[in-house]
Amino acid sequence: MTATVQRVRWETVCPLDRLQPERGVAALLDGVQVALFRTHDGAVHAIGNVDPFSGAAVLSRGIVGDRGGVPTVASPIYKQAFSLLTGCCLDDPAKAVPVYPVRVTDGRLQVGLP
């Protein structure tokens, strides 16, 4: 088995406490739009902000919740749910958004870009 070394560049976005639990924010990182979420259990997630159904950059403004225990955000345009873990659309397996690595360092939220 070949190990793949994931080279990521960590970009600091904002203080962690800028994220209200279960309410997303958008960030613009090198022209890439990222939607950031902090769930009820304290975990943080980053996925692409552009809704693949409408093309609008709005996923950060969706309602956060869960479906069968999987943390989700619902697109505010047509309401499809996306997994915050995989970026997959749970209502249409053909659609997905990117998922970005995310970490908290010294109380600051960082997103890993390729």
């Binding site: 976005v13 904002c14 800028r18 209200q20 639990p21 279960e22 309410r23 924010v25 958008a26 960030a27 613009l28 990182l29 022209g31 739009q33 950031l36 769930t39 009820h40 552009v50 159904f53 409408s54 093309g55 609008a56 950059a57 709005v58 403004r61 969706g62 309602i63 956060v64 919740g65 869960d66 479906r67 069968g68 225990g69 943390p71 989700t72 619902a74 505010p76 345009i77 047509y78 309401k79 499809q80 749910a81 659309c89 209502d91 249409d92």
Partner: protein, 844 residues
């Protein structure tokens, strides 16, 4: 022709009543290839209307409200031009105006004419029959003349005939201000429908409603006396009257067919076989004019059944009538008294046994007629309380599921829908069996409106709706009120939990009463409940995380990720300064502007980070949030009313402004719209609103349950001639009752439809206070009005809330680069093409 050929056939329908209308609809529904060109010849000058509901006309329901759905353009309709002659050999019909119409197939649907007993004086001015809207107009005019005439004493009316129609006429005359006396030749009221015991109770109950009743006597003559009428009865009594109404039965309107020698039934009516065909193979007869195998039927349901059979036959089918199965059941509310009669109500079957429970104290009478072996239900009569009608009627002809006494005794056995076999007819108006309803449920019709749409069950008299609900529950789809995977409760149940427990956050609610962390269904529903109960600003604390994007940014999301902004313009009234402010704001921020249907101005294309600056300008100029983004009161639209209009009867703008300011900010299960019209011309389109108000000479009429949108509905009359204070109290109660008990995203029309008892139940609760909750509802509305604060001002005054309105958390002022505009007709519009909406199935 049989209709199977390729060329078009000419179908002529004589008569444009309910049954004729149903026939034309049935043919048009099924004749997809347009094989039949249809000509309808109607005697009355107006399109077909709901004659069963005729009496509501005197309560303010207009002729337009009673009108049946328009026929499509494939149908040529000639009104006010009755057919006067048939030529069977030439296949032609001639009308009063001399029009000649040829036919391939001819349907007689001329209905009936009122029977007026041959008493001297029956043609005097002041004597009327009770059949058409024109008859009611004439009666109303005569009643108004009598009321306006000088002289002391009560104005009175004599109604000849104490059957169904006679009691309807008496009630209408009482509504017009007259004191009616009902004269019935039989020994009891409604002799066809009820038995002696039921008739005695019915008489006692209607007499307590200020109606004088004389049974067992007839009118022998009518004479004029000093400008009034005197009716002499067979027992010598003389009754003074300003108006006499004959409602002593009907006779088939069979003159056309009689004149050309078509065979008649023994007691009149055009004789037809079980296909509804006359002796002429191209002429059919349906409804009250038809003597089906010799017998005529005076109810609409058998007429509809005949219409369906003839439609089928004309299109090449083989449907037949089974007269033995024709349902003559009746259920109605007469002067506040419930009366139901079904099956062999008079126990005419040889050997039939009668089981009676008569409670004169409670004012209820119930009788079941059973077979001589006491195993089979044959029929029954219910007076005073007809709640069991819906489950008893389908059991006629079937074996009794329980002891018949227990089935009608107070506190006895409630017969469930599960006791019925699949062949039992649940909806007798539209002949829908339990089996057909079960099939529709299995095919995905999971609520009452869906069942109505696909089976027609419950769409006529509505008495079977409670059984439809039971069948849905029995099929295991009662959990349709479950909100989502996180709560097994309905929205109304969650409302009660939050209101009663003091739980103030979603986290606590889902931890104690639900599972998981919620979703885009339950979170906005709980947010709405918290807002309705006055838990502070919608962006306060955890509430902010529950809001849909529109409520979160207090603006309406559009397809390119921008928002639109609508300031409140109460009643649609705005000063020139206000218009200039809106214009300046739109120009400064580059917004597209459009006038909305609710008499406001919508500004499109605002980016999230622009919203606070836009609203700073608007709030400084005195504007407030219009809540266009919320499931909340939207607008109260108005016409100019007495302020400007030559025809206005009340100050509609003033009322609209007052109501919009009173209910602004009220969060509800769905959006709420209103309209106020200053007269019956209805320029504000109030009847297409959740609550609409139309001015009358004496005050205001209140209509509820209207909407536009996907399933347009006309609002229905809830109360008439209210003064302004009473009107506001009733609307307070209506809105609060809706806010508390409706399902999520259920607008007022389906909410009222889903209430057991529908509009009558709603009226009982919020007008007559049958549940004793009106004071509570009013207090809740007073609390809402007292605690209202503008949401946008609340944002502008709070740095923490303002911090949400950024494009990017790491670049708060940088515009979203995906948003671009092009110019169209001088205004900015999204540059991106709209995405074709080929959506996957998403939970609604």
């Amino acid at each position: 022709m049989s209709g199977t050929g390729s060329s078009r056939g000419e179908l002529v329908v004589i008569g444009n009543g309910m049954v004729g209308h149903r026939l034309v609809q049935a043919v048009r529904d099924r004749d997809a290839e347009g094989r039949w060109r249809i000509t309808v010849l109607g005697e009355e000058p107006r399109p077909a209307y709901d004659r069963v509901a005729l009496s509501s006309y005197v309560d303010g329901v207009s002729a337009a409200d009673l009108t049946l759905p328009d026929l499509d353009p494939m149908v040529e309709l000639h009104l006010g031009d009755p057919a006067v002659a048939l030529d069977l050999d030439a296949h032609r019909v001639r009308t009063a105006s001399g029009r000649e119409v040829g036919y391939d197939e001819l349907v007689l649907a001329t209905g009936s004419v009122p029977f007026v007993p041959p008493v001297p004086g029956r043609d005097l001015p002041g004597c009327f029959v009770y059949r058409t809207i024109d008859d009611l107009d004439a009666i109303t005019a005569a009643a108004e003349r009598a009321m306006a005439a000088p002289g002391p004493g009560r104005r009175s009316a004599v109604v000849v005939g104490g059957g169904l129609l006679g009691l309807e006429a008496a009630r209408a005359l009482r509504s017009l201000g007259l004191s009616p006396q009902v004269v019935e030749i039989a020994p009891r009221l409604m002799p066809v429908q009820v038995d002696e015991g039921g008739g005695a109770l019915l008489r006692r109950l209607v007499e307590s409603e200020d109606l004088a009743v004389r049974c067992g006597v007839s009118v022998t003559g009518i004479a004029q006396d000093r400008g009034r009428l005197v009716a002499t009865l067979s027992d010598g009594v003389e009754l003074d009257a300003d108006v006499v109404v004959f409602s002593a039965g009907i006779r088939p309107a069979d003159a056309l067919a009689r004149a050309v020698g078509l065979p008649m039934g023994e007691r009149g009516g055009v004789l037809v076989d079980n296909r509804c065909r006359t002796s002429d193979e191209h002429i059919w007869a349906i409804g009250e004019v038809a003597a089906l195998e010799g017998r005529t039927y005076g109810l609409v349901a058998p007429g509809y059944a005949m219409a369906e059979v003839v439609a089928d036959r004309i299109l090449g089918g083989a449907a037949t009538m089974t007269p033995a199965e024709l349902d003559m059941s009746t259920q109605l509310k007469m002067l506040g008294v419930d009366v139901a009669s079904f099956g062999d109500a008079q126990a005419a079957t040889p050997g039939a046994l009668e089981v009676v429970v008569n409670d004169p104290v409670a004012g209820t009478y119930a009788k079941l007629v059973v077979s001589d072996d006491a195993r089979t239900l044959l029929g029954g009569v219910l007076v005073g309380d007809a709640a069991r009608y819906a489950t008893l009627r389908p059991l006629v002809g079937l074996s009794l599921p329980a002891d018949p006494v227990a089935m009608i005794a107070p506190g006895g056995v409630e017969v469930g829908a599960d006791a019925l076999p699949d062949s039992a007819q649940i909806c007798s108006c539209n002949a829908v069996t339990k089996g057909a309803i079960g099939g529709a449920i299995a095919a995905g019709a999971h609520d009452v409106p869906a069942l109505k749409a696909c089976t027609r069950a419950g769409t006529s008299c509505g008495s079977c709706v409670p059984v439809l609900k039971k069948l849905l529950a029995q099929a295991g789809v009662e959990q349709s009120t479950v909100l989502c995977e996180h709560f097994v409760h309905s929205r109304a149940e969650l409302f009660e939990i939050v209101a009663g427990s003091g739980i103030a956050t979603f986290s606590e609610l889902v931890a104690r009463h639900g599972t998981g962390r919620g979703c885009d269904i339950c979170k906005p529903a709980v947010a709405s409940i918290l807002a309705s109960l006055g838990f502070g600003h919608v962006l306060a604390g955890e509430q902010a995380t529950l809001q849909d994007t529109n409520d979160h940014f207090l603006a309406n999301l559009q397809r390119n990720g921008t928002y639109s902004v609508i300031p409140r313009i109460p009643g649609g009234e705005i000063t020139p300064e206000g218009l200039i402010t809106i214009g300046e704001v739109a120009r400064e921020f580059g917004l597209y502007t459009k006038i909305t249907g609710g008499q406001r101005i919508d500004m499109f294309g605002a980016r999230v980070e622009q919203l606070p600056a836009i609203w700073r300008r608007l709030v400084d100029a005195g504007f407030e949030s219009g809540h266009a983004y919320g499931k909340a009161l939207r607008t109260v639209k108005s016409c100019v009313g007495t302020t400007w209009c030559r025809y206005g009867q009340q100050d509609s703008v003033g009322l609209a402004v007052a109501l919009e300011l009173r209910y602004r900010g009220l969060r509800a299960p769905h959006k709420i719209k209103s309209g106020i019209s200053g007269c019956a011309r209805e320029c504000a389109e109030a009847r297409s609103k959740d609550f609409g108000v139309i001015a009358t000479e004496n005050g205001w009429n209140l209509y509820v349950g209207g909407n536009g949108g996907f399933t347009p509905r006309h609002a229905e009359l809830l109360a008439s001639d209210l003064d302004t204070d009473t009107l506001i109290r009733v609307i307070d109660r209506f809105l609060m009752f809706y806010v508390r008990t409706a399902d999520r995203l259920q607008r007022t029309a389906p909410w009222i439809e889903a209430l057991e008892g529908g509009l009558d139940h709603l009226r009982a609760v919020i007008v007559d206070d049958s549940l004793g909750i009106c004071a509570d509802l009013e207090a809740a509305m007073d609390a809402h009005v007292g605690s209202y604060a503008d949401e946008w001002r609340g944002v502008l005054e709070d740095e923490e809330k303002l911090g949400r309105f950024v494009s990017f958390v790491n670049a708060p002022e940088t515009p979203d680069p995906t948003i671009t505009f092009v110019t169209e007709r001088g205004q900015p519009v999204p540059a991106r093409e709209p995405v074709a909406i080929g959506l996957p199935a998403v939970r609604s």
